[in-house]
């Protein structure tokens, strides 16, 4: 039986991990490779690296990091952040990334999704969507949720699927950082109207939130950052709770 995935997300700047990370047993808390290795041994099903660098050297540094992660880690990983062309994706996949995630660039140029799916296959193209509710309507936002667009979340998600995305990573800006649980209503609508996997993101605060996002939100995977980095929750505790609730997980 296909299991639900638990995915830690690492923010990367200039090849280093950002957002305080609280692992006492880390030799170098800023080294994404070491952290990735720890997460894979702790039972993570997949990893996401989100690059937030804005330097000239960005591409080269990221490609080098991807190569080092691929060398060390024996579970799949996705790389996102600033990807806007076929060349960007080609470099990352050649260096060993399993999937890439595109966000703002797909909104600005939706044809990019078709082009990437045709060239590399849908299975390695994740489209990330950041959205929040404005006057009761879910609106897509850009640049890490700062810039609103006129796009409706559900319409954009449908378009993304039709253009060939293999999966959607949906982050609710209303829930992100609150630790109050995931946006399960919106997730359930996405998951039942679309036929590709949906990754839930934004709002994880305790193990029950993961149970809820799989049961009520019908998500296929759940992503979280800070609660794992600060060891507020261990991946194995999340999985045990899920198993107790008859949700299939890899233990």
């Amino acid at each position: 039986m296909l299991t639900k995935r638990i995915i830690p997300c690492l923010d990367i700047k200039n090849g280093r991990t950002v957002k305080g990370i609280n692992f006492v047993d880390l030799r170098d808390a800023g080294d994404p490779v070491e952290l990735a290795d720890i997460y894979s041994k702790a039972g993570a099903d997949e990893l996401v690296f989100l690059d937030i660098s804005a330097t000239e050297e960005r591409r080269k540094t990221l490609a080098n990091l991807v190569l080092r992660v691929a060398e060390k880690v024996n579970i799949p990983f996705t790389v996102g952040g600033g990807i806007s062309s076929i060349e960007d994706v080609d470099i990352l996949l050649q260096n060993g990334a399993d999937k890439v995630s595109v966000n703002s660039s797909a909104v600005k140029n939706p044809q990019l999704i078709n082009d990437l799916a045709a060239k590399f296959g849908s299975q390695c193209i994740t489209v990330a969507i950041d959205a929040k509710q404005i006057d009761g309507e879910w609106k897509v936002h850009l640049v890490g949720g700062k810039v609103p667009t006129e796009l409706n979340l559900f319409e954009w998600a449908k378009e993304v699927e039709e253009r060939g995305a293999g999966e959607i990573l949906f982050t609710s800006m209303d829930h992100d950082g609150t630790k109050d649980g995931f946006a399960n209503e919106a997730l359930a609508e996405l998951s039942t109207t679309l036929n590709i996997p949906i990754i839930a993101s934004g709002g994880a605060g305790n193990t029950q939130h993961f149970v809820d996002t799989f049961k009520k939100g019908k998500a296929d995977a759940a992503l979280a950052a800070s609660i794992f980095h600060f060891k507020e929750i261990e991946i194995k505790d999340v999985k045990q709770e899920l198993e107790k609730n008859n949700i299939p997980v890899r233990i």
Binding site: K4, E46, E71, P76, A97, E167
Partner: protein, 195 residues
């Protein structure tokens, strides 16, 4: 031991090379028929779309070479699918090593299947020391039904082949190089098959 990963421009081959390195072996990437023929073990990877991958394979003349190989050959993911008779993806004729036609998932489940599923009914040297219902990582939209050559199967709305074996040819729908310690053991089993 000479391990060659066939490099015909289809997919993520770094990961396979690194996984082999982690096991203490070295692999070379090549599309040179003489290098491939001289290998002790051959890995036939593949990620992407079937018809374009098959075009690339034909362009390098490897479509006739691969079925003639005598040493153990392991097709991974799309590599395995291309070793079958035919695939629905792009209506593509395969290499005809495994006597099965590859179909698109069409039983109400989400497509692609992405994630960790279990393997069962294991019966091949590939799975020595692997327990029933272990988890492996998969990403795919097409599948090979269960046939005589099936040596591992999984369920995703339908029972299907997660591994095939015939003579010196092996194929896994899952990615051993991405399937944690279970995948590493399966990859090691393949590398240690006696020619």
């Amino acid at each position: 031991m000479k391990i060659v990963i066939i490099n015909y421009g289809a997919g993520n081959i770094q990961s396979i090379k690194f996984a082999i390195q982690r096991l203490g072996y070295e692999a070379v990437l090549s599309n040179d028929p003489s290098v491939i023929k001289a290998a002790d073990k051959v890995i036939f990877p593949g990620v992407g779309e079937a018809s374009s991958a098959m075009r690339k394979l034909k362009a390098s003349g490897l479509d006739t070479l691969v079925p003639q190989l005598k040493q153990p050959v392991l097709g991974i993911c799309l590599g395995m699918q291309l070793m079958c008779n035919h695939t629905e993806e792009g209506d593509t004729k395969g290499l005809g090593i495994f006597d099965v036609d590859v179909l698109r998932f069409n039983s109400g489940t989400k497509v692609p299947q992405i994630g960790w599923n279990q393997i069962e009914r294991l019966k091949s040297p590939l799975f020595t020391g692997i327990e029933e219902k272990e988890y492996i990582y998969l990403v795919h939209s097409y599948y090979a039904p269960v046939v005589e050559e099936t040596v591992a199967q999984s369920n995703y709305g339908v029972d299907y082949s997660t591994a095939l074996h015939k003579d010196n040819f092996y194929g896994t729908q899952f990615h051993p190089e991405k399937s944690s310690v279970v995948g590493e053991k399966i990859l090691r089993n393949f590398l240690e098959i006696r020619n």
